[in-house]
Amino acid sequence: MCLALPCRIVELRAGEQALIDVAGVGKEISLALVEDVAVGDYVIVHVGYALTRLDPEEAEKTLALFAELGEAALQEATANAA
């Protein structure tokens, strides 16, 4: 299943691309489907596209839920975003 791990924008790049942090690993994604994204924002990623922008508070809540669900769920979500 497609789990929605919030990933932090680390760097904005040319061509509507950005570098995100997925559990400590950098990955380049497309920002074509979202607007007004800045470094430090969180996004939900699917197959290389940022789907939705989350404000940091919202993202922290979701990250806390994954943590509460346990290591297995967090790993699964990280694998989906990677």
């Binding site: 789990l3 489907l33 979701t62």
Partner: protein
């Protein structure tokens, strides 16, 4: 092996694809992790957990939990829930048709068109409280007009092997007898056999889809079925009654609820058992687990398919995988026999 990717491995013997295998690096343990949580917490978790089919997942969770709690004998999805699920499915079909299929037929992705549709869909979804019927209906009419000008890419290949059965549409109550243990959610079977879910299973009776099926052109039938499905969804935006078949829920035992929600990718099932107000067991069966079962439709339709070159085998694998619409990234590899 890259994590989080559905790995589809083909073995090519110089003239045909001799073998196909599916490996997933996804541990699929999230539903099991819901054990022990209160139903209120689960309702908080589910809408945040999923990136695709989020509305479908949230509706399935809400309804299965309501059924398990035995709140109402006549429990059914609300028009707002069916509208949200329909809008979501439309968005996911358009993603495939405008962003993914073009690259497999050598054309550029139609990103700008997709963005226009997506913006309108998000606007409707934000306002979707069940009362915005006219906005949704107008959108549906617009989508139907656009669909009149579209046609699926054309593939003439015919399938030689006997096909995997199409998953029938059962009521939530009827699904209960087909549920198995935890392994069922990861590798589901129907009557002991792998089965195909998704647009083809849902639209196999459409005359054009049926004609393609009887001609053995299953890839084309699946593509045609996606357009038929999208058309049906566009029409259903104006007709809450028509949407009502997409979601079904039942209390299947004491403190146990089961919900079936149709998504762009196929049938999604949630089954929950409560112990008091806490989850004793939670199972989610997602469409991808049916279609990419180790003996499922991908493996069956690839095995024995003629392919004159390695590149042809690779492209055939990508096309079939995309037609089956997995909910995660996939990677097709070809090795020599």
């Amino acid at each position: 092996m890259e994590q989080g990717v559905l790995q589809l491995a083909l073995t090519w013997n110089g003239g045909q694809i001799g073998a196909a295998a599916v490996a997933s690096t996804r541990p699929a343990t999230t539903a099991r992790a819901l054990r022990g949580f209160s139903f209120e917490r689960v309702l908080e978790f589910i809408p945040r957990l999923f990136s695709l089919c989020r509305c479908a997942q949230a509706s399935a969770a809400q309804l299965s939990l309501q059924a398990a709690r035995g709140l109402r004998a006549d429990l059914a999805a609300t028009p707002a829930q069916t509208l949200a699920v329909a809008l979501e499915a439309i968005g996911e079909h358009l993603w495939r048709l405008l962003l993914d299929w073009p690259s497999l037929i050598g054309e550029p992705a139609r990103q700008n068109e997709f963005l226009v549709w997506r913006k309108r869909l998000l606007g409707l979804a934000d306002a979707a409280d069940g009362r915005n019927g006219s906005g949704a209906a107008a959108f549906g009419a617009c989508l139907l007009a656009w669909l009149d000008e579209q046609c699926p890419p054309r593939f003439d290949e015919r399938m030689l092997a006997a096909p995997v059965a199409l998953l029938p549409r059962l009521s939530a109550a009827d699904w209960e007898s087909h549920f198995g243990d935890d392994a069922f959610a990861e590798q589901p079977t129907f009557a002991g056999q792998a089965a195909e879910t998704g647009v083809l299973a849902r639209q196999a009776e459409d005359p054009e889809v049926a004609a393609l099926l009887s001609d053995g052109r299953r890839l084309q039938a699946r593509l045609q079925a996606r357009y038929v499905d999208l058309r049906g969804l566009a029409q259903a935006l104006a007709e809450p009654e028509q949407r009502s078949t997409w979601i079904d829920v039942a209390q299947v035992a004491e403190r146990c609820g089961l919900a079936r929600v149709e998504t762009a990718r196929g049938t999604l099932l949630h089954r929950v058992e409560l112990d008091g107000d806490r989850v004793a067991r939670y199972a989610i069966v997602a469409p991808t687990e049916w279609n990419f079962h180790p003996q499922g439709v991908f493996v069956r339709e690839m095995t024995g398919r003629p392919a004159a070159t390695r590149a042809e085998a690779l492209l055939a694998g990508r096309r079939l995988a995309l037609s089956l619409d997995p909910c995660v990234l996939f990677e097709v590899t070809v090795k020599d026999a």
